[in-house]
Amino acid sequence: MAEINPVLLKELRQRFRNKKASWLLALYLVVIGAFVLGFTYLNWRNAPGFYQPSRSQEIFILLSVAQLFLLAFVTPGLTAGAISGERERQTLNVLLTTRLTTWQIIWSKLVSSNAFVVLLVAATLPLYSIVFLYGGISPGQVAGVFGFYLVTMFLFGCIGVACSAFFRKTGVSTVTAYGLTFALSAGTALLSVFLIELDRSYRAGASAASSLPLPPDFITGVAQFLQETNPIFVLMEILGTNSILNDFNFGLPYWGVYTVLYLAAGALLLFWSARLLFPRKNN
């Protein structure tokens, strides 16, 4: 039987033995639970003694979006110290002189951090039962949302690991990882909205935009691509809000583009991180 990677085993043992893990899990559930129960309470307060089943979909959307924001907050924070933390504790050099490859070290760090994030997400499943209680949501949608979370946390985690391999200080690594996650989550959304507005004014023949050298189809295509790589747009699309443009066919459905791009980008970042740990001629 294949043996579990020793770094992964050690990381899991350390992480789950630490009291911080229990506190973080409790805090996460309190925040998510407060959203759901607060919204349910408001719904009940507006119509006492009566619950509108159609609003369970709103709760589902609220819960899913809130969870995405928390993932964007927790995942880079957990992974951004993976390698730089080893450097700061002066344990990395010893680890690098063992028979473990740099790839094994990097991969174990990512998996152990993401395992904890998966636990956070899985622990919220009972809250989703409130949604199921009143109907309106298919199990397929819930599975889609959880699949989306796995892909998203993979890339967010890879960004954190790459920053921690590149920067020597965990503080710098964490700030950079949050910056990149924000750029990916909000930057692409803002840019796509900007391009859509630009395209609209171009088509309307506005003077400022009519001098643009780019064809309008190209602008719309870029805007759609940005939306298909933006976690908020993709989540809203999974939730059935039809928020992504549908002018171009990239050969894959929107979730396919998102999954392929995120997994490929994450794999490249991990590969680069492992390379950064190789000894160099000049450093």
């Binding site: 043996e3 020793p6 770094v7 085993l9 050690k10 043992r13 350390q14 033995r17 630490n18 504790r89 002066q90 344990t91 050099n93 010893v94 680890l95 690098l96 002189t97 063992t98 028979r99 473990l100 000894p279 160099r280 001629k281 000049n282 450093n283």
Partner: protein
């Protein structure tokens, strides 16, 4: 067992190693000494496969540290000058983790960890969290960690740094025990008298270069081109100091109570002639001899000569 061959290494404009060559035979405890910035840690890092040499080759047991880094890692145990330990791991778990990292079969790890803790005199600390151990205990645990895969070579960078005298003595005992186990130990330290006690041979480094190497006796002899001599007389020590200052081959003659110290350059026959001349001149000589240099003084003399040569160039 260890071979540095013309190794150079630069960090930007700083030259850490320059044409450094050194051979360490199997089973020796070999000391690397030198001032801060001499290149000891760089040499050890290259040996531990953590850095690549800019030029030259380094081999361990015939394996090249660049092309066969994986093979070399299986043959070395490395203890850096500064190292940390993992929080939330017990001493036995710490050793078992590294045993797994060296691909030791799972069934052997717990027995191995117990044996190593016994070797470094920490048998009752197996269940204690590593971060709660004293510095001396952590150093010994790190040494045990170096041994989990039974390496042929141990690279110990300042293993006694920051330890109290008792912990240093315990560390020395363990290193002597490792020698009995036929391990080749490359060790650096600033505490030269202790290195002189445990090392079979030493190498003195300065500014990235090898300045001298050999047994402690050879090293002190090399630095003995000009010998420090001492004569104790029953009276007229001041007059003797003045007399010696007029003799050829003698410098820095000065009286210190009933004794006179001076630097003498010459063969043994000339040394015998000097003693005869002093007695013939009527000084009642009680003692006459060379002030023995220890490794520390030899180190200062050798690195001082290098500095003087550099200044003259």
């Amino acid at each position: 067992m260890i071979e540095f061959n013309g190794v150079s290494k630069n960090f930007g404009a700083t030259r850490a190693l320059e044409q450094f060559s050194l051979t360490v035979r199997q089973g020796l405890v070999y000391g690397l000494i030198g001032p801060n910035g001499a290149g000891k840690t760089t040499a050890m890092s290259i040996l531990a496969t953590l850095q690549l040499p800019g030029a030259g080759t380094v081999t361990v047991d015939g394996r090249d540290v660049v092309r066969e880094a994986g093979e070399v890692r299986g043959r070395i145990g490395y203890m850096p000058d500064f190292f940390g330990v993992y929080d939330d791991l017990r001493a036995a778990e710490y050793l078992e983790f590294f045993a797994a990292a060296y691909h030791i079969p799972a069934g052997q790890r717990s027995h191995l960890a117990a044996g190593l803790l016994e070797l470094v005199d920490l048998p009752d600390k197996a269940g204690v969290y590593v971060d709660s151990l004293s510095r001396g205990m952590k150093q010994r645990l790190a040494l045990a960690r170096c041994l989990v895969h039974d390496p042929k070579v141990l690279i110990l960078d300042e293993p006694a740094s920051g330890l109290d005298p008792r912990a240093r003595a315990e560390m020395k005992e363990i290193i002597r025990h490792l020698k009995q186990m036929d391990k080749t130990v490359l060790i650096s330290s600033h505490i030269l008298p202790e290195l002189a006690e445990i090392c079979d041979e030493v190498a003195i480094m300065d500014k990235g270069k090898l300045v001298a190497c050999g047994t402690v006796a050879e090293i002190t002899a090399v630095s003995r081109g000009a010998r420090q001599m001492r004569i104790e007389v029953l009276d007229r020590a001041e007059e003797l100091a003045a007399y010696l200052a007029t003799r050829p081959g003698i410098s820095d003659s000065h009286a210190d109570g009933p004794s006179v110290q001076f630097i003498f350059s010459g063969e043994q026959a000339e040394q015998a002639g000097l003693l005869q001349a002093i007695i013939t001149a009527g000084w009642p000589v009680a003692e006459f001899g060379e002030v023995k240099r220890n490794l520390e003084e030899a180190f200062m003399a050798v690195t001082g000569e290098e500095a003087a040569n550099d200044g003259g160039n």
